[in-house]
Amino acid sequence: MGKLFDKLKEDVRFVEGFTACINCGTCTAICAAAEFYNYDPRLLVDTVQTQNDDYIEALLKSNTIWYCGECMSCKTRCPRGNVPGLIVMALRSLSQDLGYFVESEKGRQQLFIKRVIGGWILNFGYCLYLEGIGTDMYAEQGPVWDWRQKNWSDVLARLGANYKGEGPGILRKIPAEALDEIRRIFEVTGGKVRFDKIEESSEKKAKEMNLKFGDGTDNEYFQHIFSYDNQNHNKE
């Protein structure tokens, strides 16, 4: 049995999501990512079930495991009760914990998610904290979003929010003690280790790629992973 396969089995999601695959294709048939990306969840699961270290290591370093949108449509169909989406989540976790994620273009994007979403979780207690996140980064949000950004607090107040306020309410200030608890949870459960690993691996990779690396969002490496697309991910 392969070492990487054993490590996957330590993830409860892998245990829940993987029995054995009969290659029927009902997952790929319904997969949103398989429609648009050069991606086949059936092949991914079939590769994992070989238990072969070389194949699995190649997977963990490839773009393949990063195409899934985690919609779980595959879970509704598999006649063996497998869940390719959960298997993908286990692969993504392992890829980051081993530092392999930086070997693929899509994997490198994890730094963005860690800094932006992870930053908001630890600093504010929300996954999204969007004052100042405008149409320069998210053009599709459109002119109404521009108006919202210009009038962020006022529109929130108009719609009944308690922005940065005490007590309950929309986008309230989450008390410092609560955020401390969240931080301690991250420390105790391996969340902080994951975050640190993402940073450390990304910094190493940035050096290899000769891209300037810094904190925050305003550096060469960060901007590159956010927007670079090699145009080779789609079906012909």
Binding site: F36, W147, G167, G191
Partner: protein, 364 residues
């Protein structure tokens, strides 16, 4: 299409939904993008239905977007969830009502995992104790906020001022309903109606006078895909998914789309704008697009609440054509005002999508 066949399936997927004493946990997406819907939910539950709904000021995100963005390890997510349960226990509540569909999926997934793997629950309890000193009881009931509105759809219907009917033709409005993927695809028996023919929104639409439109890509994900939207390089996936749905539904000429997920209404709304800019194509009549609503916006609108209290002014696709079809009275001049009539200016018009404002300025 034979509705009797669907009814038989709906009978099989009934779900126990608590009828009072709700512990409300908010949605990160909705608080930022559609805050009016959360305000309206609490208003309806308290003022129309007379129920007790409580929000603990120390509750946080469940880390859903981080978890499905794969930066948050599963143990971390479970312990944060356990902390939410602990706050609920501390406040003396048993019935959890998440505002977010991804949250609902996560809470359900966590309880299912603990049921099959009690050692994981034990481990998480220990983590929570170590990190916070807290303990918790497993919730007696978990129902998504849309389940609550579904459960009381008849009560809302009796109090409603309007129906989902075109007042000019007298015909029911054609309504596309879109269910968030994490509502019932993961655990079909935990969603009203199951995974294939969910009934939670259909029930509301039928009760409120509308006609449900079924179309081939109904079950297709809107394309949020977490990392597939957050990172710019991946966004083609996200817009392609929504576009697939629009292309599939347009021949059915729906009057509106209703969804029960936080992200979906935002995406189905904003991607229509982006598609119009990229391809010059709009769905719906006269270049205006198909307006997208949350179920709270619809419930509130039918109850006669001011659309600008509901938060419809933050939609990119114009809602006015739909309001006019129903006969909802509203004051267009107040659309973009803040509290105390504060002047907040107005959004610019998009280049292709026709909005009510551009119609207005055309007529001037």
């Amino acid at each position: 299409m034979n509705i009797e066949g669907k009814k038989a399936i709906w009978k099989d997927y009934q779900k126990d939904i608590a009828d009072d004493s709700y512990f409300y946990v908010r949605s990160c997406v909705r608080q930022n993008f559609l805050p009016g819907s959360e305000t309206t939910f609490i208003r309806i539950v308290r003022e129309e239905l007379g129920k007790d709904i409580y929000e603990h000021p120390c509750h946080t995100t469940c880390t859903g977007i981080g978890y499905h963005g794969d930066i948050v390890p599963v143990d971390t997510m479970m312990t944060v969830v356990a902390r939410q349960f602990a706050l609920m226990t501390e406040a003396g509540y048993e019935n959890l009502v998440p505002s977010c569909i991804t949250s609902f999926g996560i809470y359900t997934e966590v309880l299912d995992t603990w049921h099959h793997f009690p050692e994981v629950e034990a481990r998480v309890r220990e983590y929570l104790r170590m990190a916070t000193g807290r303990e918790f009881k497993i919730p007696a009931n978990i129902a998504h906020a849309s389940d609550i509105i579904y459960k009381f759809r008849k009560e809302i219907a009796t109090k409603a001022m309007y129906k989902l009917i075109n007042k000019n033709t007298g015909k029911p409005l054609k309504v596309v309903e879109h269910i968030g993927c994490h509502y019932s695809k993961m655990f079909p028996e935990k969603g009203v109606g199951g995974a294939e023919y969910p009934y939670v929104l259909v029930g509301m639409i039928e009760e409120w006078g509308g006609e449900v439109v079924d179309y081939p890509e109904r079950r297709h994900c809107c394309g949020f895909g977490f990392r597939q939207y957050l990172v710019q390089a991946n966004r083609g996936f996200s817009i392609s998914c929504s576009r697939k749905k629009f292309e599939s539904m347009q021949d059915y000429e729906p009057d509106m789309i209703i969804t029960n997920c936080p992200g979906c209404p935002m995406f189905l709304d904003k991607w229509q704008y982006a598609i119009s800019e990229l391809e010059g194509k709009t769905y719906g009549k006269d270049g205006m697009g198909i307006p997208v609503f949350t179920y709270e916006e619809v419930a509130g609108m039918l109850l006669g609440y001011d659309p600008w209290d509901l938060g419809m002014q933050v939609h990119q696709v114009a809602v006015e054509p739909l309001l006019d079809k129903i006969g909802v009275s509203y004051d267009a001049s107040r659309k973009y005002l803040g509290i105390n009539n504060k002047n907040l200016g107005q959004p610019k018009s998009p280049n292709v999508l026709v909005t009510a404002k551009s119609l207005l300025s055309e007529s001037l």
